[in-house]
């Protein structure tokens, strides 16, 4: 998909710049082969975008490139900042399909550490509230290494939601969740979109498009295809 991408950030009525994600001719090469080729994409404030496509299509690669975890050619701007800069990193939170947690910190300490590292003190309370909603409240003083994959995923999602970043990048977030947690996450994502934030996630579930009121972007063979929703 190719479209013109204006670079100026738009602002809300109170003067706060609205979040915006812009990708221009983004190419990621692994071993001489382009896994993503010339991707142009613009995500506006208040949108939830679902990346959909077969395994190996490049969905996770796209998310990782936006998070600055992979080298790429082209331009990625997160609310006007490049992903590897301090401003860029502060603009998003990323939860991988296998979430990265600090094994030396308990789940509660994750909330304390990340809220301070992101200089968002109020995020600690919000994260603890998300732990409760994900039914993790009685396990927050344990190390994540003792938790199941689903519980680790819930903890990582609670941390990301608690930080309330402009952009939330989620790689297949619904895969390991139980039914209640899926509903909790969907509710959280809907609320974020209403608040004018951006959600970008990869998923295979057809029903999510309707549940989240999401736009769908098809990814096939490293190319971003049609957009609907």
């Amino acid at each position: 998909m190719s479209q013109s991408t204006p670079r100026t950030s738009q602002s809300t009525d109170d003067g706060t710049p609205q979040p915006r994600v812009e990708l221009q001719e983004v190419t990621v090469v692994f071993g001489g082969e382009a896994v993503l080729a010339d991707v142009d994409l613009v995500l506006a404030a208040g949108r939830t975008v679902l990346l959909r496509g077969p395994n190996g299509a490049g969905k996770s690669t796209l998310l990782r490139a936006i998070a600055g975890l992979l080298p790429f050619k082209g331009e990625i701007l997160l609310s006007g900042a490049r992903p590897r800069t301090l401003e860029g990193r502060a603009a998003f939170a990323f939860v991988a399909d296998v979430p990265t947690l600090f094994e030396d910190l308990t789940v509660r300490e994750h909330a304390a550490f990340l809220s301070r590292a992101y200089a968002r003190p109020e995020a600690e309370e919000r994260t603890l509230a998300w732990y409760e909603r994900f039914e993790l409240a009685d396990r927050v003083d344990e190390f994540p290494g003792t938790h199941s994959r689903g519980m680790r995923h819930k903890a990582a999602l609670a941390l990301a939601l608690g930080l309330e970043p402009d952009l939330l990048l989620l790689d297949e977030p619904f895969n390991t969740l139980d039914v209640d947690a899926r509903e909790t996450l969907a509710e959280g994502l809907r609320q974020r979109a209403q608040d004018g934030r951006i959600n970008l996630l990869s998923a295979h579930d057809q029903a999510l498009e309707r549940d989240l009121g999401a736009e769908v972007v098809e990814v096939r063979g490293g190319h971003v295809g049609r957009r609907r929703g």
Partner: protein, 485 residues
């Protein structure tokens, strides 16, 4: 034979798992000795072996008797450096080992799989043989070193025989720790920390570097050994290295069989007081995985720097007790060497390597690969700060103790110098591990930072005295934190 052994055990009125196992072990040992005896006899012939042993012994005794110092012996100052370097090499090589230290036979798997005995009990003869053989090898190496030192340095240090044996024993214990957490290795590691403390004490009491060489060499060997042991403990949490995958599976099988045995016992099939007591004690404990040591998070005013420093302090607080003892011993060793007068030259570079190893434990954990928005100063400062506060406090303590025990003047100077060395190594390690994207516990990272910090101190020593070195090193460390990304 099996039936006969059991019958004899029964006759002795001791039909217990332990007695049956001992009978089985005796049978296996007899069979192995018999097989070995026959193989040697058929392959070489026993008369040939006796003939060769006689002549080798004669040559060795003749060689020892004719050993005389060379005309111009080497300076004694090189001796501690050489001994330290050799001890370091012997211990560091453990981390490069890719094969299990003890090869288990099919019989062990059978014994463990089919019996309720603990793995430790079944493997005891094999482990005993392993450790005894290493002590013998170490003693031989120590004897050779004694002779070599006598010839090259014109000083006789018989303690090198015991040092060699101890070092090889420690090396074996560390290899076992890396391979599998064995209870037998723990007391050995604790013994090593005691030796390290002795090494430090030798320095504190004012021995010169030449006179205290064997003790100090034992000190560095032991301190680094215990640190490596602590590293092995931490490493186990992350899983086995790829080279040990097959053995890990075998050990996992062993553990399963042992677990089954414990379950059988706790279910009442074999009531034993020990098991029930242990089970009850575990039941009273908290849920596994809970944090036992906590530290209140800092005020949000301190921002990202405070957050990273808090996490680093937590990491130090939760470090295994063994590691804390090792840190104390290693810092003591660095202080002892510096207060014994090792300020410039090659010894300082070797000391830098020890400081690099020390830094790998003082430095806080990295946030990678999580894309957290941390500026380089918050990241670096937060990671090094708690460790350096601990190091500064310990060096000050050593200086006070040394002054109180009537040590020579300059106790504080040695402490400052030690702190500067450790600070420089820690900052360089932080930068190196961040840039190279490797764990700061990787020997490549701490080795590099240790060598670099030691070399920098060496260069600084050429420019001036201890005051100049301290100022220069602290300036370099702080400047790097402020300026480098």
């Amino acid at each position: 034979m099996w039936a006969g052994d059991v019958a004899s055990a029964t006759a002795a009125g001791a039909v217990t798992p332990g007695a049956s196992l001992a009978a089985l072990e005796r049978r296996m040992l007899r069979r192995r000795v018999g097989r070995g005896y026959r193989w040697v006899g058929q392959t070489f012939g026993w008369s040939t072996i006796i003939y060769l042993v006689f002549w080798i012994a004669l040559f060795v005794v003749g060689g020892v008797q004719s050993a005389a110092p060379i005309e111009h012996p080497l300076p004694a100052a090189i001796l501690p450096v050489a001994l330290d370097a050799l001890a370091l090499l012997a211990l560091v090589s453990v981390s490069l080992q890719r094969s299990p230290p003890v090869v288990l036979g099919r019989s062990h798997a059978m014994l463990l799989g089919l019996s309720p005995w603990s793995a430790r009990r079944v493997l005891r003869p094999r482990l005993l043989g392993f450790f005894v053989s290493r002590v013998v090898v170490g003693a031989v190496v120590g004897t050779a070193a004694w002779l070599l030192v006598t010839i090259l340095f014109a000083v006789s240090v018989p303690a090198l025989v015991a040092l060699g044996a101890g070092l090889w024993l420690l090396r074996a214990a560390l290899a076992m720790l890396v391979y599998e957490r064995r209870p037998i290795a723990l007391p050995l590691a604790l013994l090593a920390s005691l030796l390290a403390a002795l090494g430090a004490a030798a320095g504190v009491l004012g021995f010169g570097p030449g006179a205290a060489a064997p003790v100090l060499a034992a000190g560095v060997a032991s301190a680094l050994g215990v640190l490596a042991a602590a590293a092995a403990f931490a490493y186990q949490g992350a899983g086995y290295p790829a080279g040990y995958l097959f053995d890990a599976m075998v050990v996992a099988e062993f553990r399963t069989s042992v677990l089954m045995a414990v379950m059988t016992q706790s279910a009442g099939a074999l009531r034993r007081r020990g098991v029930t007591t242990r089970t009850r004690r575990r039941g009273k404990g908290r849920r596994s995985g809970s944090a036992r040591l906590r530290l209140k998070p800092p005020s949000t005013e301190y921002g990202p720097l405070g957050a990273v420093a808090w996490r680093s302090a937590l990491s130090l607080l939760r470090a295994p007790l063994l590691m804390k003892v090792a840190l104390l011993a290693a810092l003591g060793y660095v202080y002892a060497m510096l207060s014994a007068g090792v300020v410039g030259g090659l010894p300082l570079a070797v000391l830098g390597l020890a400081a690099g190893f020390l830094a790998s434990w003082l430095l806080g954990p990295s946030v990678e690969p999580a894309p957290v928005p941390l500026d380089p100063f918050s990241r670096g400062g937060g990671r090094v700060l708690p460790g350096l506060i601990v190091a500064a406090a310990l060096f000050a303590l050593f200086a006070v103790v040394r002054s109180a025990t009537g040590g020579p003047t300059g106790s504080g100077e040695a402490g400052l110098l030690g702190f500067a060395l450790v600070a420089l190594a820690t900052v360089i390690l932080e930068k190196a591990s961040s840039w190279l994207h490797v764990s700061h516990r990787e020997w490549t990272a701490w080795g590099l930072s240790g060598l670099l910090s030691g070399t920098l101190m060496w260069v600084l020593s050429a420019l001036g005295g201890p005051g100049m070195i301290t100022l220069g090193a602290l300036g370099l460390a702080f400047g790097s934190l402020l300026v480098l990304p």
